[in-house]
Symmetry: C2
C-alpha cells in the first residue's frame, strides 16, 4: 500500500430529501472534502459547484457505481457516494457493502476507510409535513419488485396491516411498475378500514413539494409518481382539522389494542 | 388575536442522536430563533448557550410539556420543543398533536403556526455505524409497555419476524422495564435462527458510543441500557469481516424469498 492509497476514503453520504435545510453538517463537510462524487445524476447535481470530479450515472447501476467508488478510493481518491435521503434506507449504502462482500472483491477494497453519513429519509420529511403519523410503531416497505418477488411484498403488506403498523411505502410507482401501488392499496383494504388515513407526499423538500391527505377508501394511485412517498395510518391514526389547510395527521403514542 | 400573539410559533425540533454533526441547519436556525426551549432536561442542555428561556422537565410529562408549549406560543412566544433523534419517531411530535387534538384545547392553540423539524433518528445512526442493516424492508417497534399492552408488542414482534423485516427496537430497557428486551429476543428466537445478526448500539453520536455486533443466539439483554437501540437482522442480513474491528452488518437490497 502506498502513502497515496492510504489517503483514500469512501463515504456514503445522505443528502436528505432535497433542501439544504436538511443536509447535515457531517454530510456538507464530507462532500467538500471529497475529490470525487459518484451517484445518480440528479443527486450529484444537488452538490454545490466545487472542484470535485463528478461521476454521474443513471439510477439502475448501483452495484457498478459502488465498485467504481471502491476502486477509486483504493487508488487514493477521497470518494463521496451521494444518495438522496438516508443512504442506509433503500439507497446506496447496501450496494456498497454488497460490492465489498463479493468474493471477487480485490483485497485493497477491504483496506479502504469506509463510513456512512446518515440523512433525513423521505418518510421523515413526509411525516414532518403531515404532522406526526410515525408517532407509533411503523414499518417501511419498498414496493419495487425488481429485487424481490411481488408475493413477498404482498405477504409483508398483509402482515404489517395485521400488526397494525403505520406503513411507509417507498418506490410506490414507476413507468415500469405502474400497477403495484394500486395492488398494495387493495391488499391493505382487505384488512384496514376505508377511513384509514393515507398521505401521499410528493417531492418533499423540493420547490414543487405537495402533500395529499386522503383515506384508504378514496386514494387514487394515479395521484402518486416516482417522487411520492405513501404513508398509511394505523387503526388509531387520527386527523386534526386545520383552518385553511389539509388536516394534520398523527398517530398517538398510546395504543389500547 | 393581538399582534404580539400573532408573532408566536411552535416548532418541534429534532436534535438528532447527539453530535452536532447530525443537527440539521433547519434545526439550528429554529433553536437560535426561539425565545423558549422546552423539553426533557438532557435535550435542553444540548442546545448551545443563548438568550432563550429554558423549561426543562423530566421524561415522563410529555403531554404537560406539549400543553405548556402551545400556551406559550399562543401568548406570542417563539417556542422550540426539543426532542432527541427525530421528534416524529417515538418522540415529542405526537404528544404535541395529542394536546392539540384534546376537545378542551383552547381555540387559540389551533391558530399557532406549528411545524416539525425532522432529525436523524437513533436507528439511522446505529445503522450507519454498523454498515447498512436497514437496506431492506424494516420495522420500528417501541418496547415500552407503558403506552400499549405487552401482548400487542409480542404480537407485532411475531408478525414482524414472520414478515422477515429487519427490526429496530426503541426503548428496549429501563429500570421500570427490566425483562421486556429478554422476552422480545425469546419471542424472535421462536421464528428466527440463532445466527440472525443483532446489533446493540449504545449512545451513538455521544462521546461514549459503543457498538456490539452479536447474534440472536448469543445476545445478552444485560448488554443493553436506556440509551441502547437494538437492531435484529432479516434472514438475509449478512456480515462482512473487517480487520481489527467488528464485522460490518448489511441487508442486501435483493431478496429471493
Amino acid at each position: 500500500m502506498t502513502d497515496h492509497a492510504a489517503a483514500g476514503w469512501l463515504k456514503v453520504v445522505g443528502l436528505g430529501p432535497g433542501t439544504e435545510d436538511w443536509l447535515t453538517p457531517e454530510a456538507s463537510r464530507d462532500l467538500a472534502g471529497a475529490t470525487d462524487l459518484i451517484g445518480y445524476k440528479p443527486y450529484v447535481d444537488r452538490v454545490p459547484p466545487g472542484p470535485q470530479e463528478r461521476h454521474a450515472s443513471d439510477n439502475r447501476v448501483e452495484l457498478d457505481r459502488a465498485r467504481h467508488a471502491l476502486s477509486l478510493a483504493a487508488a487514493g481518491r477521497r470518494v463521496a457516494v451521494v444518495s438522496g435521503g438516508d443512504p442506509g434506507i433503500f439507497a446506496m449504502a447496501a450496494a456498497v457493502f454488497e460490492a465489498l462482500d463479493d468474493p471477487a472483491a480485490p483485497a485493497e477494497w477491504h483496506r479502504v476507510p469506509l463510513s456512512v453519513d446518515p440523512g433525513i429519509s423521505a418518510m421523515q420529511a413526509a411525516a414532518a409535513r403531515a404532522g406526526a403519523p410515525l408517532g407509533h410503531d411503523f414499518c417501511a416497505i419498498s414496493l419495487s419488485d425488481n429485487l424481490k418477488p411481488w408475493e413477498v411484498v404482498l405477504k409483508r403488506l398483509r402482515l404489517a396491516a395485521e400488526a397494525d403498523f403505520v406503513i411507509a411505502l417507498y418506490n410506490p410507482i414507476s413507468r415500469a411498475r405502474p400497477w403495484q401501488l394500486g395492488a398494495a392499496f387493495d391488499a391493505l383494504r382487505d384488512i384496514r378500514t376505508p377511513e384509514t388515513p393515507v398521505i401521499l407526499a410528493q417531492a418533499v423538500g423540493r420547490p414543487d413539494e405537495a402533500l395529499t391527505v386522503t383515506s384508504l377508501g378514496a386514494v387514487d394511485p394515479a395521484q402518486a409518481d416516482m417522487r411520492t412517498l405513501a404513508l398509511i395510518g394505523a387503526s388509531h391514526t387520527r386527523l386534526v382539522p386545520r383552518v385553511g389547510a389539509q388536516p394534520w395527521v398523527y398517530t398517538p403514542r398510546s395504543y389500547k389494542g
